[in-house]
Structures are given as C-alpha cells and as structure tokens.
Symmetry: C2
Subunit: 279 residues, 2 copies
C-alpha cells in the first residue's frame, strides 16, 4: 500500500477494513468510505475546501451541549433525518405517520395529570388539546405514555433560554381507561430553527429559509406497539410546503380552530402500529 | 413538498438548494446530499445507527481544541486526506511528492539558524538532517522557508503533552545561498496516532492498527513555487506498507544510517513545482 493515487486509494482503504469483525459495521463503513471518496472525486475537492469542511464539522460538534444538538439540526436540514425515518417505518396504512424527532426533546420532562396545563408559564395563546390513542383495528389503548413538547409564541423551546432554567411547554401524560388524553397548553406557532451555528451558515449559503410550520411534538409509547415519534401541524400555516426539515405529512395536519373566548382547540387521534409477533 | 418518501426526498432537498448563489457551493452541496442519501439508502440506516453517527460526530468535534484536530485525524484514517491531496497535486515527474499534513502542525514554530538543534530538549537519539531545495531543472533555491516537525522517541508531538508547554522538535529554517539546509534533531520513530478519541474507536471497530511509519514532516515554501507539504520516511520501518493514514510514497523513503557515534544522519533533496505562469 504505497503510491496510492486518486483511483486506487478507495480500494486500499476498503482492504484495510476487510477484517472488521461485526458484519453490519463492515457494511456501513464500506458504503460510507465508498460514497465519501466518490463525493470528493466527483467535485474534485480542493485542499482549501477540505479544510473548510473540517472546520465546519468541528464547529458543529463544538456547538453541541446538553441542550443543543447541532448535528441533529444539520441532519434535519439535509433531509437525512426524514430519509432515515422513511427507511425504517414502512407501516401499514391507517397508522399515524412518524416525522422528525428534532433537537429539543428532554428526557426529564415532568409528569402531568390529564387536563393539566403543560405550558407551565410559557408565553402564548391558550390551546386545549385532546384525542385518543388507538390500535389499527380501532381499539382504544389505555395507559399509553404520551410525551408532548413545543415552542412558545416567540418560537423558542424552554431549553433555548439561558435562564430561568425552568421546564416549560413539555410534559408526560398517560391515556385514560378509554384511551383518551387531554391537556392545556399554548397554541403552536411557526418558528425559525436556530441559525446562530453552522446549520444556519449552511442555510444562508444555500439561500434557504429556516422556518418550520407550527407543530406540536408527540412521542407515544404503549406495550405491544412501536414507539411513535411525530408532530401535529396547523392546517393554516404558510410553511407547510417548505418546512426547513422536510417533515410535513398531509395526514399529520389538523385544524386548530379558535373559539369565541380566544382559546384554540385541537383534536387528534394517534393510531399505533403493533409490534410484529415472532412467528 | 409534503409526504416525501425514501425515494423522493433527495430530489426535494436538491430543489430546495437550487437557488444557491455560488455555483461551486451548489455543486459541492448537490454532490454531498446525493451521496449522503445514497449511503443511507444503500445500508438502510436504522434510527439507532443514525443516532450513533450523530453521537460519533459530536464527540469528534468536542475532542478538537487548539492542539488537537480529531476531524483531520478521522479524515486521515478514512483515506480522505490522501485522496484530496492526490486530486490536487498532479505534479510533473521529478517533483517531490506531497503527503498528509497531519493534525500536529503549529503555526507559531520558532525560527532557527541553519545547523541549530530544533529538538530543543525533545527525547530521542540525535539525528543530523541535511539536503537541498531544488527546482525541476536542478537549480538551487536559496531563501526557501522550511518548516519541520516530528514526534519524539515516545511517539508524541510536543502539543500532545499537557505540560510543560514547551515547543519541541519543530522549527522554521531558511535555505542558504546554495539552496542547502541542515539542522540537528532526534531520529524519527514509528508511533501510533492518538486512539483515545472517536478515531481510535473507529480503528478498533474495524480491526486496524494505529501505527504510522517513522517520518519527519516538512513544509517548504519559496516564491514562484507551489507550497510543498510532505514527509521523509525511514527505509527500514515495519509500517511502510500499512501506514494508518495511507501516506507513504516510495519516493519519500530515505536511508537514515546510524553513524559510529550512535548519531543518525538523513539527507534529502526537495524538488519544488513552479507555479504555472498565466498565459
């Protein structure tokens, strides 16, 4: 392995990883090296561009902390997150479709009783959310764990505020004996994803806007069913056709009517996919 | 752009970047998105693997600081660094070949007189290095700026030590009126690249050793010539055929004979490529 040139080096790298013990790791690394090299050859990457790439990735990693995941944000705007979801959720018709997880989920969200106000002081117009957790055959699923989270009327999630360090507009609820759920929160508004990091630089360089249509995040879990990670979008949003992270699905759009007292309401039923029984 | 699936999402992302003003940026991003998506589809990337990738890249970025560049190290072991060099240095026969820059160069290296000991206390067996800076037609090049750097006998560069914070085994020299250079240092030894970060995890997962054959780094600059970034390797090294970063070229291997007094010597002439005149 001396005197490798632009055509022979790829095969040399693949030979070097030929003894990778885990076959899946080998498969992934083989494909990754092949595509990475093909990319560099295809664009005839210059050394200056290579260094810009090194610095871009470095800055992306250094932007990450317990409350910010810039690599997920980058993956989202590159369409890689939605592609990965599409590759892994070939669900039967009738199941609620999944969408991106996003970078703002918090493991340690507070537990709430049904009917509680999960906004917990977050700024926004009140909104009453309700619906049911259902199986594909229409049976209600009691005891499902429902994780909800969202941005406030300024387009910011609680974790985006430096202080006070308070958990707002997120919580965990449990569906009742009839599979029902309901809670109070604030109405979701369209917001721009954070543009103060490398992902923002990328959007600027490619003349893309950073906006996401208004949505409420849901993660629904119940024994015997696949975990569902999704959003419910607002029907009247101007960004439904240009979501910065490519996450919109027609079946996830709901009406969020405003009532006479100014409060919004939104009702949505989630249909879970049963975990396939081992035959 | 709603209801994108695993086949339509790539085109949707490419359409979204269609207005990128800089044509080169557009070319690079188009190729990058296409290969990234092809990779994910080809291996049918799972969500768990995607998250492992996110965490791997995050850790790689967070390992970088003023003295450590883990993304360059990763690029090196993936063969991307040498590929980029090969793509950009189609030099005429007779020119000294380039190789990887590596992650241990320091801008602020000290200036030395010819004959000085650039080791500056670094541990190792003494070695006298000499040679000439030449043009393709054999003319000597006086006043060339010669940057040298290397690891000590423990295989560590000065920047890899936490303290004392002293610049060792690196320096800048200037070729004399006859294009000649000579300095004292320590003999280069084979060493493993740092394996305490994600790049080390990658090498372990792919059953690869981290060793680089013994080498001395050179960067040579002179007006009218392309900057040369290269190494000189030791002829007797056991890792010449399995360099962890794929950097060995036959023409960069030199004899480093040991003299009766234990001191090593190494003589190597560098031939610079003239910058093409604008026609």
């Amino acid at each position: 392995m001396r005197n490798l040139n632009q055509d022979t080096i790829t095969q040399a790298v693949l030979e070097r990883i030929a003894n990778t013990p885990n076959p899946r790791t080998k498969e992934i690394v083989t494909s990754l090296v092949t595509h990475l090299h093909d990319f560099a050859r295809e664009v005839k990457l210059t050394e200056e561009e290579w260094m810009q790439g090194i610095q871009f990735l470095t800055k992306t990693g250094q932007m990450c902390d317990a409350k910010r995941q810039e690599f997920i944000l980058l993956s989202d705007v590159l369409g890689l997150s939605m592609l990965t979801i599409a590759l892994n959720h070939d669900k039967p018709a009738g199941c609620t479709e999944p969408t991106v997880f996003g970078p703002f989920f918090l493991e340690e969200a507070p537990q709430y009783e049904l009917g509680a106000d999960v906004a917990n002081g977050a700024k926004g117009t009140p909104c009453l959310v309700s619906g049911r957790i259902l199986s594909l055959t229409g049976e209600t699923i009691p005891g499902a764990k429902i994780n909800v989270w969202q941005a406030d009327e300024d387009g910011l999630y609680d974790v985006q505020y430096v202080s006070p360090d308070r958990i707002q507009a997120r919580g965990i609820l449990t569906s009742d004996a009839n599979g029902g759920y309901h809670f109070k929160t604030i109405v979701a508004e369209a917001y721009p994803i954070p543009t103060d990091g490398p992902t923002g630089d990328f959007l600027k360089a490619t003349s893309r806007h950073p906006w996401r249509p208004a949505h409420l995040h849901f993660m629904v879990e119940a024994p015997g069913y696949e975990r569902l990670i999704t959003h419910v979008f607002r029907a009247d949003d101007q960004y439904l056709d240009s979501d910065a992270v490519f996450g919109v699905r027609q079946t996830l759009i709901a009406d969020w009517p405003q009532q006479a007292d100014g409060t919004y309401t939104m009702n949505y039923d989630f249909v879970l996919n049963p975990i396939a029984k081992k035959s």
